[in-house]
Amino acid sequence: MAEKFDVIVVGAGMAGNAAAYTLAKGGLKVLQIERGETPGSKNVQGAILYADAIEKIIPDFRDDAPLERHLIEQRVWVMDDASYMGTHYRSEDFNKPPYNRYTIIRVHFDQWFNKKAREAGVLTICETTVTDLLIEGGKVVGVRTDRKGGEIRADAVILADGANSRLAVKAGFQPEIKPENVALAVKEIHFLPQETIEARFNIGEEEGVVIEMAGKISAGMMGTGFLYTNKESITLGVGCMLSDFKEQKVTPYELLDRMKAHPSIAPLIAGSEMKEYAAHLIPEGGYHAIPQVYGEGWMIAGDAGQFVNGLHREGSNLAMTTGMLAAQTLIELKVAGKPFSAANLAGYKQKLDDSFVMKDLKKYRRMPEIFHKNKQFFTTYPDLLSKAAQTLIRVDGVDKKSKEKEIRKSFVESRSLFGLIGDAFKFWRAVE
């Protein structure tokens, strides 16, 4: 392809589609390259879509985006092998449009989003893997693909190639991912009749529920489980840090099967038909793991730049926002007739710092390390909480004061008083 573009976007996921769409709307000539058969065919997500991020890019997305259910209820469960203890928050306020959070099926959503980008003027080519960046005199000037004669040139390249950014590593823009900075998630999608889902979760048509899970479900590893209701299916899965996975003997699919067999989960998916099993990485290193995200003629957006808020399970919205901000930076420079040099692209970093993306990641910067070093949050506490609840609830002739004493004793024996206070402090520091 001898044609030259203003910008090449690598990837047609959340970040890539947001960047390509914004660039084309801004009048730039954009080529987007995706290795999947179609946009989305390589992508995995839970998945919750946060309306705010997509709304800033496509304000009327609700008109035709493939949305499954809007969420009206959030359940958080702390689990041991036999029980869960949880909080449920459900509000009619979540039933008032415009809705704030939706479940989506990722492949369907990516196809829709990419169609919008193409309608805006983006040229998307699929089934093409970018193998290298073309670098001349320290400046990125294009990409090399696995197609015949596959060198293509552009004034800038946006790497929106996801959690395994091979291109950034190969070009030396960032080091190989460390096991302690990334989680592996496995998930399945289970189909059930719509009425069955609505009856089991006590919801109406189009209403949805999220269950977030912690505790024994991660087999002592730093990790969490999730379950989301779609229109005619349920998505559920579990993710744990790779640094923990590599030190133990449970396979990811055993972990998922144990979760599905849990007495609180099994009835929710009983009689369903499993139609797909998927696995994907989630960058969880947080603020301190974010690499250099721009240079001479290149920028990084989305998972490739580690833009994920692990605690709140937000990734797609950060991907869309960073993609959009990268695009806006290029549009402004183009309009001003300025080159896409590193000095000028520093404006992207400034935009990131001013947005919720970096503010949130900075707020939770201590969290990954604190959880890594304090496995009791995933091992000892779920058990203690469950036992405490049982002790209090069971009516067995023991007086309440003695029961409270017993609970206090069980906590102090497992963690010591200083340990407990220290943990409370650590938890507060992690999320403060």
């Binding site: 290795r35 999947g36 058969e37 989305g40 065919s41 390589k42 992508n43 995995v44 997500q45 998945a47 099926i105 990722r106 492949v107 369907h108 990516d110 699929c126 089934e127 093409t128 893997t129 193998t131 693909t145 696995d146 197609r147 959690a163 395994n164 091979r166 190989e176 991912i177 460390k178 096991p179 990334v182 592996l184 496995v186 399945e188 999608i189 299916s233 790779l242 996975f245 590599k246 030190e247 133990q248 003997k249 449970v250 396979t251 990811p252 699919y253 055993e254 099967d257 499993m274 139609k275 797909e276 099993y277 998927a278 696995a279 994907h280 990485l281």
Partner: protein
Amino acid sequence: MSKIEEKLFQDRYRVDADRPHIQIKDAAVCAKCRNQQCTVCCPAGCYSREADGTVALATDGCLECGTCRIICDEHRNVAWEWPRGGFGILFKFG
């Protein structure tokens, strides 16, 4: 069928026959590897321990997650690339 095969049976692939996108660099290194953690961590069960102490890799069921490359951080013994464009796992739902 084993548990993992039952799962992968539901998935859609276009296999690039005889062109594995992941390879073990040196079988002798695996034979001496302490945990052989790839045999536990791969979510598609692509790595298996052989009777002679080495590790065999069959990439047909690969979900392209990247785990095997990242957890082999002591030996860096996994040569890992994406499949050619259009090949490999093709998620229907993701």
